[in-house]
Point group: D2
Chain length 241, copies 4
């Protein structure tokens, strides 16, 4: 594990953008799975400046790693909608470069990525409960590949999903889909970003505590090419500093 | 995980030799950690033929990944003694290329490997109890780097160690040393070999069952570059075939 | 440049087979361009034993790098006919894994290889005149990608081509096709094999003399991942030994 | 060859900085050879911001690839003096990370780099005469490794060197040292940067013309991992755009 601690959110975001950009300037196809959420907002601002209207980055391909469909609606789910807002639209990424995972094609995700040459990098955030992608504690096993998680997998899951889809219970789906821990660990490199004091406890637990199925992200410690990029607040409980 | 099943022990051994040889013909330094034991005997016979007196392989460096010292004796412990017999002496590998882990230097093993550029490949066997290296169930945690394991870590451990050192209880050491699961997972690639019907059950459990600390090798499933090479007997309980 | 000298043709062929095999046991697609001719005959004998009926090598893809069509005939040209005899048929390689270059599709060869992820390795022989692939002295430039070479490109070329197509002048084509030096240099690694006393002079000239357009193979010295595998006779003029 | 054209000098410099940064965030040692001169000035300004006081980049090692000694003076020569001003001092790079090539140790440069694991990337500029590093037309051969070039190697060389050392003929050295074309081509990746209209002609000649010993940089076309980063002016003679 390579641990990078930066003083603040902007500096952390800049380093994360640098790491992603560093993978992009290749001659051959590059496959990146990227995260939505609040943590990467500033990182995408930096990325957009370097990626927009750059034909020499046409060989970079993007994947989402989870999706919550809007019940009863056609079109993109929650994750792709956010990624479009955060990055794909402002960076003018062409559709040919975007490989959408959704509730209909999730059983093909792992074979498709393998056929595409594997993921060069997967960018993850982490939840205060230790989840990454849609791997909430108790919903998936470490050995799961891309899978579906039922809306009744956990008590309270329904409320979480309703919030994700915007508050209307009518839009709450029966299940969401996610790359499982084994799918994620198959990537050539993993980058995890976190900022803010409220992430400090889980960072300590997930990356300096035992591997524990109740803390899904704890498994990521064992990947041979893991980089964890934090701001000082997210790193504030680490003795190592 | 790449699964390779060969019809018999000789064919399995030939493929394992091929995989190791394939890593060796490089221009830059290559670092290999290799296993002692019965499983690799024939593989080393093949390797010796291709490696002995080949000055163009002088850039290949070898590491042992565990060691049981003989109590009260100077010199090599059980693992290095076996590796010398199986491979280093018959292949006439020079001392400069052999990086000995022992009970005195084990705290430096991980930093030394990192400074040397990391392991390009670690070759493992598996025990019927699911152990790899010296990671017997109950002796190490998934997050352990190279560590020592006390002779009283488990009931019955003393008897195991006495057998390993040749039967004399006077030679039973207080502890042995081993690369832990996290050290092993840091290698760029992992190759695990197994043969024989008596390994069939643990192969199914470790590579097609859950990640479970009682089956240490089960963690290896999550390495992005794992190759498992079996003979037909060791693969005989797999539904996949 | 990594130089490997073995005592005889069989040992040289075994090492060449080892190097190719070493590239094959991967999880992701592997792309190999391979040579016909007399030099690799024994190497293919070794390879067939390790490759035939091995479903775990289905992700290995093969490319020919030049082709001489038989004039007035449909079907494979000289190179593919030889590769079928030497390797593809005895090793029972499936058509899906064989990517044929011919006189009709040569303008697409470089783009196709790039889209497939690039060549992981290209295996070359060398002619006594310093040619590799179809790059005879005076027919191509170092900067050529895959190209056609006219039957009247050189005095005497017609006779050479007639011999290649089996002696009948009616089968002599107007042109042949070949990957050019720049196409070959784009491979991630290059392996060149040569055996026999009659290759000794050109080996010295091409790999220990100046870069010279009259010795096309002399450019290969400058590839960052070049391995040259010789028997003792082919190496007999090298001072280095 | 990957060709990147940016609208202006600042954008070109940002991309060059991104490419270098992208190589830096690794777990293992990274070896970079970098250029002095005017072209990289702004790139170093960007780099300093991301590299200064970052302990997580301590594993990045830097090499200079040529040196002009000041005659009669101890201490650094022209190149290292410039690199110190442009980058090493403002970025507070520690001495342990800087591997100085000079007129005393140049015969060891290639072996040292090989022992260090090879160059991951070499960053080059280009002269209007097609030189890179100290490889002026007529001074070195394509097959040269690191070598010395005499002050009388070319007519007018003495005047060039006097200008380089600051104008005083008393400081003009008898020779300078440089990595030769073969040394440079041995790097895993090459990045060449150029800006301004006065570079437009040589860019066209070196990267879209024949390989020609009178245009030393023309050999770089044949490297499998070459990236050329230009501003619009330096690219203004290219038909490709």
């Amino acid at each position: 594990m390579k641990l990078i601690v930066e003083q603040d959110y902007a500096a952390m975001s800049r380093v994360a953008a640098n790491v992603l950009l560093g993978k992009m300037y290749q001659q051959n196809r590059v496959n990146l799975a990227i995260t939505a959420g609040n943590t990467p907002i500033k990182m995408y601002e930096y990325l957009v400046q370097e990626v927009k209207n750059k034909p020499y980055l046409d060989h970079v391909h993007y994947y989402n790693f989870d999706e919550i469909p809007y019940a009863g609606e056609e079109g993109f789910g929650v994750t792709m909608t956010h990624l479009n807002q955060l990055f794909f639209h402002p960076a003018a990424i062409s559709e040919k470069q975007i490989h959408v995972l959704d509730e209909k094609n999730y059983t093909e995700q792992d074979a498709r990525i393998l056929a595409d040459g594997g993921l060069d990098l997967i960018l993850l955030g982490i939840g205060e409960d230790g989840h990454f992608c849609g791997n909430l504690p108790g919903t998936t096993e470490f050995t799961d590949m891309t899978t579906r998680v039922s809306a009744d997998a956990l008590p309270g899951m329904c409320e979480v999903l309703i919030q994700e889809v915007g508050g209307a219970s009518s839009k709450c789906p029966d299940f969401y889909v996610t790359m499982g821990p084994k799918s994620v660990m198959a990537a050539k490199s993993i980058v995890l970003i976190a900022n803010g004091r409220k992430k400090a406890a889980i960072i300590k637990k997930a990356f300096f505590g035992p591997v524990d199925s109740h803390v899904p992200a704890s498994i990521l410690q064992l990947h041979p090419q893991l980089t964890v990029i934090l701001d000082a607040e997210a790193a504030s409980e680490l003795d190592i500093l």
